[in-house]
């Protein structure tokens, strides 16, 4: 009997105009957008490659180590799965300096390449956004008359005269409609995958396919939530026209209005002014202490005078400055000296300069790392926590949950982007270790080419690998679980209503 019911429902759904329209529009939108998105990814990848080459060239053009530290920049490659959900991949900075003078964070990043900043005015569409809008709409279109239509036509009474359990009817309806809705979803995804795998610019590994599997899982859960919402409305409204109107307004509210309105209405997370000020104050003090030590060293070393350049003049340049940005809790002290062949003329000054830099390098690193211990939690409090609160508000709509879950799966959420900065910090540590190993800070190559130019060739190379799929799964699981829970709760409510309802 159960099979008969499913068969009947399936036929009912498949042979409709709405099914054909659903398949057609999904395929059209997904294919058109995938082509555009692949092109966009191609451009971003090209931008990344150029940036990497430029960084290399600029670094190798520097002949001394101190001159090169400011050119130690690492770039974040675009995420190929950003085609599914672009998230923060295009938005947040994609290159950051790994100089020893500053522990890099997301807030110190820059954007590389030939981007036109005006183009940010246009919102970018990804496959998940298409699903978010269209799938939910389709689910409601399929669901609005599933119970109300039968009430109206009286066929439900007919079915119930047989010895069929009501639960079975509900389940049959749910399963068959979901099977129908899966057709456009899977077909469009398959087409997108074909386009992805045949394109030469994108290479996906086994983990990526698992991630895409996670996206599909989240999509099915999302689809099912909206189908159940439609069923609930249909069961409660009992008239198709009322159910249709209610469904459409619910859709408009959940997908269109709520996600855009809630952040404007929700209580604004206050920017903790005092937190910023006190943290910056601490950081500033540490650097001032560093500067005192530096001046003390210059005053007490064997060389007369307190000038840090030791009176050296030659072909080249030098700079030393500190700069800050209180709103980002940024404070650094940069200094570099770059001279070509000072020769015998400065034979007495060079050892003193070496001494000074041997002292300075580790001090700068130490101060940078101490300030990072203060800066990191402060940045979390000032920027990350308010943003997380806003994200929770957004998750009150299934659309927000779906978006968050898929972002986590493909790794374009804030955590995924922050992995890059974590990798950048590790790379900085490797660079510093390399400097220590080669005793670069006290060497002549730090500031002059008398003993040959700086050797950048054996520097550790940076390459960013996204974390494995387990991490993505761990990050996505809470949201997917909430989606599944909503599913179960909705189904139970519908079941109760349907059991108690009179036909």
């Amino acid at each position: 009997m159960f099979k008969t019911l499913i068969g009947r429902e399936l036929l009912n759904n498949l042979m409709t105009f709405r099914f054909a329209a659903a398949v057609f529009i999904m395929l059209l939108l997904v294919v058109a957008n995938t082509v555009v998105l692949i092109e966009d990814y191609d451009r971003r990848l090209a931008g990344y490659n150029t940036a990497v080459k430029t960084h290399q060239r600029q670094l190798h053009a520097k002949k001394t180590y101190s001159g090169g530290t400011s050119k130690l920049v690492v770039a974040r490659p675009p995420n190929p799965l950003s085609i599914f959900n672009v998230g923060f991949d295009k938005r947040l900075g994609n290159e950051v300096s790994v100089s020893h003078t500053l522990v890099p964070s997301l807030w110190d990043a820059r954007m590389h390449g030939s981007d036109n900043p005006f183009m940010d005015m246009f919102a970018s569409i990804d496959i998940v956004f298409i699903f978010e809008v269209i799938l939910s709409l389709l689910a409601l279109i399929f669901a609005y008359d599933t119970l109300a239509g039968e009430y109206e036509q009286g066929t439900l009474r007919l079915v119930l005269t047989h010895s069929v359990r009501r639960g079975h009817i509900l389940l049959a309806k749910y399963i068959s409609a979901m099977l129908c809705l899966l057709v456009p979803l899977l077909m469009s995804l398959l087409l997108a995958m074909i386009l992805l795998t045949t394109s030469s610019v994108i290479s996906l590994n086994a983990d990526d396919f698992l991630r895409i599997g996670g996206v599909i899982w989240a999509s099915v859960a999302y689809l099912s939530v909206f189908y159940l919402i439609g069923m609930l409305i249909s069961g409660m409204a009992r008239r198709t026209s009322t159910a249709l109107m209610l469904s459409m307004f619910v859709w408009g509210f959940l997908v269109l209005v709520y996600p855009n309105m809630i952040l404007a209405v929700s209580p604004q997370p206050k920017a903790p002014q005092t937190r910023t000020a006190s943290a910056f104050n601490q950081i500033e003090q540490m650097w001032e202490e560093f500067d005192r030590e530096r001046k003390h060293f210059l005053a007490t070393d064997a060389f007369p005078g307190e000038e840090w350049d030791f009176g050296i003049k030659g072909w080249g340049g030098l700079y030393a400055y500190s700069w800050d940005n209180p709103s980002k809790l940024l404070y650094t002290y940069e200094s570099a000296m770059e001279f070509r062949d000072l020769g015998e003329q400065y034979a007495t000054e060079i050892p003193h300069t070496q001494n000074y830099f041997r002292f300075l390098g580790p001090r700068v690193i130490n101060t940078a790392e101490r300030t990072w211990l203060i800066r990191k939690p402060a940045l979390e409090d000032i920027f990350i926590h308010p943003a997380n609160v806003e994200r929770i508000w957004l998750k009150l709509s299934p659309a927000g949950l779906y978006d968050a879950a898929t972002q986590a799966w493909v790794g374009t959420d804030v955590l995924g982007i922050r992995d890059f900065f974590h990798a950048a910090r590790q790379h900085r540590q490797r660079v510093i270790n390399y400097f220590h190993d080669k005793k670069v800070f006290g060497s002549q190559q730090w500031f002059t080419t008398d003993e040959g130019a700086a050797d950048w060739g054996s520097l550790p190379q940076f390459s960013f690998q996204r974390l494995d799929v387990n991490t993505n799964a761990k990050r996505a699981l809470p949201d997917v679980c909430i989606l599944l829970m909503i599913n179960i709760v909705l189904f139970v409510i519908i079941f109760l209503i349907f059991i108690k309802s009179e036909v």
């Binding site: 957008n33 555009v36 036109n116 005015m121 109107m245 459409m248 307004f249």
Partner: protein
């Protein structure tokens, strides 16, 4: 007879669920819009006023020093005046810079004669998202409320207006009387229009009421005129979707099918087309040459420097000759660099314009462009601001040259301290930058969009008429 049908439709709608839901939704959105505007607008104004004050102080301090200082440092940051109708169309203003910069020191040179770079006009770019970890949402402005929500509501009011009557058989009954079909169509159209207008008007009135109570917002006569135009455009845009609903409703036998078609059409036209088309057009060409901007700028400067260095370090040249060469070097450098910045700006603008033009296929884009034009926000407004800035820069340069020429003691060698007037300038005489908005210019830029929107409505209206006249009941 038309009114009779319209009235019947109206009464039908007033009692319906959709009317109640539409009212609640629109009221909520419009209230949100007003509250957000009241919260954000004062800070925008404050920022503008601070910027203008800083600009004036800067002019005064340089003018008090000498003409050379004024001509070398330039006017400084020139700020875009924020529009009072920001709540109508946010226009992606977060991605548009609020100022253009007239002057920043690029280089200085010791020796004889000491030189400093002259000011140039350049255009800072804003990347507000670079470190923004907050979730990304659309601004709830009128453009969103009308362009997305009201258009959906319009479809929900008309999708069944003809097909439902056909399903019930009342259409046959009505046409059995001696009523011309177009009367029925127009009656239904008017009925739907009035039913949609009622909740919308209510919401708009409350929105404006809340906004005008604030002491920070001054809605002058010109602003009300602009609001009137915006409401007319809204009417036209709503008509577009009402007519689309009628057209599909007349062609299709069942209301459910009609709704499916309309919703999918709406989603494609309104949600996806604008951004997909923009992405296609925007990505069609790379906006910048392979060589980075700063590298190109350095290269040009180096060439000029080598040419000038031969004069500067040539002991055969006399002092006046050296001064003249230095002046030429400084002014040429400023002109070259400014041209470079302008070229980049032009490239960027043309890329955006391409994207905006192609996106015009979608009615919601046309509507939002129109709204931006008349609200005085968005990209077209930014272009107007840039025009203003450019003409002001011209004015400022002419002023410095003229003042220098008027000073008899000056050597009239522009670009070097020794060659120019050392007298202070009266601050009142300096031309002041005032960013202005002109309604006639806005009409000019909006004309195409307005005509396109009308064209859409007329085509759909005649389509609906033909469909309804030829359809069998």
């Amino acid at each position: 007879m038309i009114w009779h049908i319209a009235k019947r439709e109206l009464y039908d709608n007033l009692n319906s669920l959709r009317f109640a839901l539409a009212t609640v939704l629109l009221l909520g959105l419009m209230l949100t819009n007003a509250v957000v505007h009241l919260r954000e607008h004062p800070t925008r104004l404050q920022k503008y006023h601070d910027g203008v004050a800083e600009y004036q102080n800067r002019l005064k301090s340089y003018a008090a020093e000498s003409l050379y200082k004024l001509a070398q440092k330039g006017p400084g940051d020139l700020y875009k005046k924020p529009s009072g109708l920001h709540f109508c169309a946010a226009g992606g203003e977060t991605f548009l810079p609020a100022d253009a910069e007239g002057g920043y020191g690029r280089w200085g040179l010791g020796g004889e004669p000491p030189l400093e770079s002259f000011w140039i006009l350049w255009y800072p770019s804003v990347t507000p998202n670079l470190a923004n970890v907050r979730p990304d949402v659309t601004k709830v402005d009128w453009g969103f409320i009308i362009g997305y929500v009201l258009s959906l509501i319009a479809l929900l009011f008309t999708f069944d207006s003809i097909s439902r009557e056909r399903e019930r058989g009342t259409l046959r009954l009505m046409l059995a009387n001696s009523i011309p079909r177009h009367t029925v169509l127009i009656g239904k159209f008017l009925g739907a229009l009035i039913s949609v207008s009622i909740p919308f008007t209510l919401a708009v009135l409350i929105n404006l009421l809340v906004i005008s109570t604030s002491s920070h917002v001054h809605l002058g006569a010109e602003v009300w005129g602009r609001l009137g135009i915006i409401l007319l455009i809204t009417l036209l845009y709503t008509c577009l979707f009402l007519v689309l609903g009628l057209l599909v409703s007349a062609r299709v036998q069942r209301s459910a099918v009609s709704l499916v078609i309309l919703l999918l059409a709406w989603v494609t036209l309104v949600v996806f087309m604008p951004n997909t088309l923009a992405a296609i057009a925007g990505g069609s060409s790379s906006s910048e040459a392979a060589l980075g901007f700063s590298e190109r700028s350095d290269q040009i400067h180096d060439e000029l420097w080598r040419e000038y260095a031969s004069h500067r370090y040539n002991s055969g040249k006399s002092w006046p000759q050296k001064l003249e060469a230095a002046g030429e070097y400084v002014t040429k450098d400023a002109a070259q660099q400014e041209r470079l910045h302008e070229e980049r700006l032009k490239q960027r603008i043309s890329q955006v314009n391409r994207a905006r033009t192609l996106a015009r296929i979608s009615p919601v884009t046309i509507f939002q462009h129109l709204l931006e034009s008349f609200a005085g926000t968005g990209f077209e407004r930014h272009l107007q601001f840039l025009e203003n800035v450019k003409s002001y820069a011209q004015q400022f340069r002419t002023f410095t040259v003229d003042t220098d020429n008027a000073d008899a003691e000056s050597l009239h060698i522009f670009g070097v301290r020794e060659g120019m007037s050392q007298k202070p300038v009266s601050p009142e005489a300096i031309p002041k930058f005032e960013d202005t908005l002109s309604l006639s210019k806005d009409f000019n830029t909006a004309a195409i969009d307005l005509l396109l929107l009308m064209l859409f409505v007329i085509v759909l209206l005649s389509g609906a008429y033909l469909a309804f006249v030829r359809v069998e009941v």
